[in-house]
Amino acid sequence: MAIVDDMQAKDGVDQETVEAVRDVGGTYKYGWETDIEMEYAPKGLTPDIVRLISSKNDEPEWMTEWRLKAYERWLTRTEPDWAMIDYPEIDFQDIYYYARPKSMEVKPKSLDEVDPKLLATYAKLGIPLKEQMILAGVEGAGEAPAEGRKVAVDAVFDSVSVGTTFQAELKKAGVIFCSISEAIREHPELVKKYLGTVVPVSDNYYATLNSAVFSDGSFVYIPPGVRCPMELSTYFRINAENTGQFERTLIIADKGSYVSYLEGCTAPQRDTSQLHAAVVEIIIEEDAEVKYSTVQNWYPGDENGKGGIYNFVTKRADCRGDRAKVMWTQVETGSAVTWKYPSCILRGDDAQGEFYSIAITNNYQQADTGTKMIHLGKNTRSRIVSKGISAGHAQNTYRGLVSMHPKAKNSRNYTQCDSLLIGDKCGAHTVPYIEVKNNSSRVEHEATTSKVDDDQMFYCRQRGIGEEEAVALIVNGFAKEVLQALPMEFAMEAQALVAISLEGSVG
């Protein structure tokens, strides 16, 4: 890999940096497969499959009914076609909707009982599922950050949660952090109260599908006034072939609470595409704050556009109480197709929503991503910073909505979306919708599109920096505002990912 070789040759480059970059490897690093005995539900989607998924999770009757209603609804709907993405028709009957490792048939009581192969999988991904080990974020070179911060992990493997770390310690603080299947069994009152209230079953085609067949995902409840003692994270791994992953995440931040939540995802390298359709719902009560950070690194397909994950995701936060705050940060480097619009409903007065995004597409990747800021309450504020980078034959679209309702007096929005094009065969597009229905609110939208600046390139090259490395540097500078919004461990990983994702895009 050119970048690493160049860097080794140079003096003065911090050896640690070199190692870190080398570690994240050349091409897609997570393309390997875990050889493990799996148990599948039959291919295709029928009411029986829905019931089967429900029974595998030992769900109560009301949950099964909820799913079946979603399934009925799904049958009446058609796939949306408005996004600037182009992919072969998905055969929804040719997908496994449920796949779990055989060893998970009897749910392990603790992490010690989990199949070593599974633990090894996560260790290899840089996610050691042992509490004494401290995580360095999703990517993690295995090194612990200096200050020794703890991150609790819920590890989801295909359709099931393998285990959740630090549960006991979190419980002491009153925080519930578990898989959603466990939450449905153990905390039905909370799930019943909140599930589907932010993203209704009928929200959109993929959300409806997810509502019918979601198999696992994470559940978080932070009680009033609690500042979650550590960062929470979920790591999603797709392993089985021809399997769709449909996870569901529900986060509730009660009054005055705070949580920072991280999400990471990878999948093996395959010639066939795979579907991932997730739903994330976040409820934020008065004075509470949620930070949600994603590093999405699903397999993007090869350089000819073969294979890769189709990522159709619905994420939405509902700031229900006054002064509630949400911050979405996403680094989207993976997936063949991305269709994703993490949104904020600013219902409470003085609520705040922020969205920071870097989407990098290379080769034949396509991303149509952005956000919706729905201002309903007075004095609500939102900020959107989106950086799209296109290389190779990729298409990258920012699509967003800022809506100021008549009652959202004195609200503010600031949007900045910038696109960078590397090469003349890719595309960068901006499709913002701006709807302002009162005059005391101020909305500002700015967008620019440019290429990597020749002067900056020249400056770097003149100082002996290799071409690819120079592009990575410039792109990191371009994306700085977003990278800074990430928790520290993620930011480091994201910077490295930026370089990796653009590999081969120059020259």
Binding site: W82, A428, T430, P432, I434, E435, N438, N439, S440
Partner: protein, 427 residues
Amino acid sequence: MAALQENQSLTEARLAQVPPQGAGWANTARGAALARVRAMGLPQRRDEYWKYTRPDSLVQVEAPKAALFDHDTGSVFEAGERLKIVFVDGVFDAVTSDDLAMEDVTIERLSEVTNTDIHWAKDVYGELEARGQNPVARPLAALNTGLASDGVVIHVRGRVSKPINLIYIHNSTGSDAILHHVIRLDPGTELTLMEDGPAAARLNMVLEVDVADGAKFHHVRSQGRDHERRAVTHVFARLGAASLFKSFTMTANGKLTRNECVIELTGDDAVAHVAGVAMGDGDFHHDDTVFITHDARACESRQVFKKVLRNGATGVFQGKILVKQIAQKTDGYQISQALMLDEDSQFLAKPELEIYADDVVCSHGSTSGAIDEEALFYMRARGVPKDIATDLLTLAFLAEAVEEVEDAALRAAINAQLEGWLLRRRG
């Protein structure tokens, strides 16, 4: 399925109007246009391109009634020398129009040239409109091509000594005008075209402009002061190398206005500027929809749209810059802004960029909000009464768009109208 049938029957009802019958080439163009309408269907509320503007009253068979504006309605461009061509409720009026003969230009009525077998207009009429149907359908423009009975056909062969002024008089409360103009500018020529007036209770106007290499076309338009009139207009322009196209529209009042502008930059180094100011008070819905395609190298495009809204007025902006792969060194700029003078008004915008070339500079901005309280305070602290200060700040807000009018006299005429509009609403 039901929706589709409903649309078909709606379209058929509208097409029941018999197109003008002629003996010449135009029959083919009209037939093709009506076939396009049938294929596309007329616009409906559900259409994404009509997300912010209800097309119903523009589509329905009968034009809704519109009261005449009973104040002084003299031409906005009264002061300057010009060649006047008058249409009353969409029909050419030979009595009040000037003699159409002028040096360096040939002006003919559409109804005359459509009866000939061979005419240059054949290559433009409906042709630019048809090109403009992709990638977004504009069925009301095709409907116009199919049904238009009047208009002018202008061939510019040199630097025309004085501007041509199309004056549109609205004289009947139920009039339904369909006007279609075609302009061809030969290489290196120049023309200024003014349009002025509401035209009819309902106007559907198409202007096709073919600007050859090195030619310059200036377009300054005022859409009259009638409150109840409705209008849908389309300007289709094709620009050759190093040519210039500048279009400015002032809209004050009007119940419903949809101005579409579709520009194709096909020659290197061409320049296209489209600008507009809209002033709305009360029952006012104004929609600027612009689509600029860069299909050649080193072209410049600029869109500047400003709206002043009060008493529940609605402003819409849908602008798009499409940069094709070939269009390296493109410079694209787009700004849409709304100034809302009270709580009830709304501004809906969709400023889009679609870019397939890497060596480009494209930017867009969109803002909306109330008048700047700090600036207002500053002026009041210096003894400027509130209403005057508000008007001055409003004019300053509009200035960037008005400056797109190159001719100083025309700019002054526009400013006088804007000041008058504000003055009448003072206190």
